[in-house]
Symmetry: none
Subunit: 160 residues, 4 copies
């Protein structure tokens, strides 16, 4: 199984997160980053907040930057806690409320997903649904990359 967040894999993560967001009725922005914390895929569901465009991406960035959920980071960043003030770092891209979840393979963080659009606990659920799809989804990812929509993934020799 690939240890990279390919576009096919990122789309599977987005699809699973989006499905959960629809289920709980929370129009969300959903972003997926790879191991370098660089964006791979993003969607803004209709009626999601404009302010969430940035936050979803920054939650994904933060989860990969510190290899933990932003929910965990939230606890450590309260006044008096060890990481209070961390929001100022990394050019303001650190988000300290729930909705960012690492994507792992065999326990190794290889990317992350960020969701924004509802309450932090809802965003966390949405992001977790996305991350779970990846972690459990070697099969799905492989199959999906053989499908027409991801043809360039199945035929890497074609591109460039």
């Amino acid at each position: 199984m690939s240890k990279q967040v390919t576009l096919a894999a990122a789309e599977a993560v987005v699809a699973a997160a989006r499905k959960h967001a629809e289920k709980i009725g929370v129009p969300s922005c959903i972003a997926v980053v790879d191991s370098g914390a660089n964006l791979v895929a993003f969607v803004r569901m209709d009626r999601a907040w404009l302010g969430s465009i940035d936050i979803a991406q920054d939650k994904a960035f933060t989860s990969r930057a510190f290899d933990m959920t932003t929910k965990e980071l939230a606890r450590m960043s309260q006044p008096g806690e060890p990481l209070f003030g961390i929001t100022a770092s990394n050019e303001g891209r650190v988000v300290i409320f729930a909705g960012g979840v690492p994507v792992k393979v065999d326990g190794v963080v290889i990317g992350a997903v960020g969701a924004s659009g509802g309450r932090p606990d809802q965003d966390h659920e949405v992001a977790e649904a996305g991350a779970a799809a990846f972690s459990s989804g070697g099969q799905t990812v492989r199959r999906s990359s053989a499908s027409p929509a991801n043809a360039e993934v199945a035929r890497p020799g074609r591109v460039d």
Copy 2:
């Protein structure tokens, strides 16, 4: 008729642009913005340049910000030309080479698509393929926007 770039519409644009990128063998980043120049959907194809993540989004922003292709803007922004220096504006988000194309309905710009990954002329082709899918795809878009605001959320199978 609603004139909005819904997520369903943006995904149709991305799919068409991506298909063209695959056809000409150029791994690309593709971004779609709405009438507010705000991001709706983004994908980075495998092996696309990391530097294109930003540029694809900024091309889409630029095309909507000035309601023209970035190819047209390029001409006006050379040394000695009327808009030389415009790149310093809008917090560095103005791109002055080809690859950004407005998305129109009945001649009215309602969003834009940006592509980055190849030569500017290739990027322009990719973005145009995306924009064309929207302009010609009125049926799908009209129906979807006539239905309850987030109909595409309830019927994810409809698009692509």
Copy 3:
């Protein structure tokens, strides 16, 4: 005696800090700045957080900018304390948790070291180990700074 953080001196600081980080098993980013608060040397140990790249540098900056440890600054920057809000200054480069330690010669701050990768108390230990190497390492540093300005360049074998 010259009171400058040469590259040779910075590398000695990094080496000592890194040795301590290895000893306590914390993959860290380590940064050293000079009297102008400008970066001299930086390393990211394998598996250190990506988010620490920025924080280690900003901790070093902060320690030199205010001539105190970021641990001390943390106390003064809590809600209700005199420097609450200082994180907004200096373009977001002020870090208010432990891990930044000034480098001194004869009680005068001439630079700083920042470490990031573990808990703030661990980062403080790592940075202190680095700073201590400098303070105690006067011999090497003095000799090197007494020689022609870029002597360490001509004799790379001398240091570390």
Copy 4:
């Protein structure tokens, strides 16, 4: 051979680049980034320009972001050329003069090195010397990671 820019590998790149910089007498800043364009190692040689701290890092970023030397990019970014204006993208981190060189393994770009301190052609030489050390240097890298200075690399189990 590893396809990652570990710290041991980055240090070998820095050492080779620095050696060349010393040889041609150009005090330089030298930076190495990994496949995600994130910083791994940085040194500022004594008497190098302060302005080079940023430029060396941005050259490395640029070379990885576009998988080419900044010397090549320079040609394409002149007035009237296809990428004129690219400097405004990526938050001002794109450098369009020589001194950034990709680091490759088997033809695949897995990182980059940036050098700044002299004329662009000198910076290019320095960066190339660094990149060459990596590309040719599987042996060196392996050996070097077995040496004491890079002990944590040889014993990854120790850390975290």
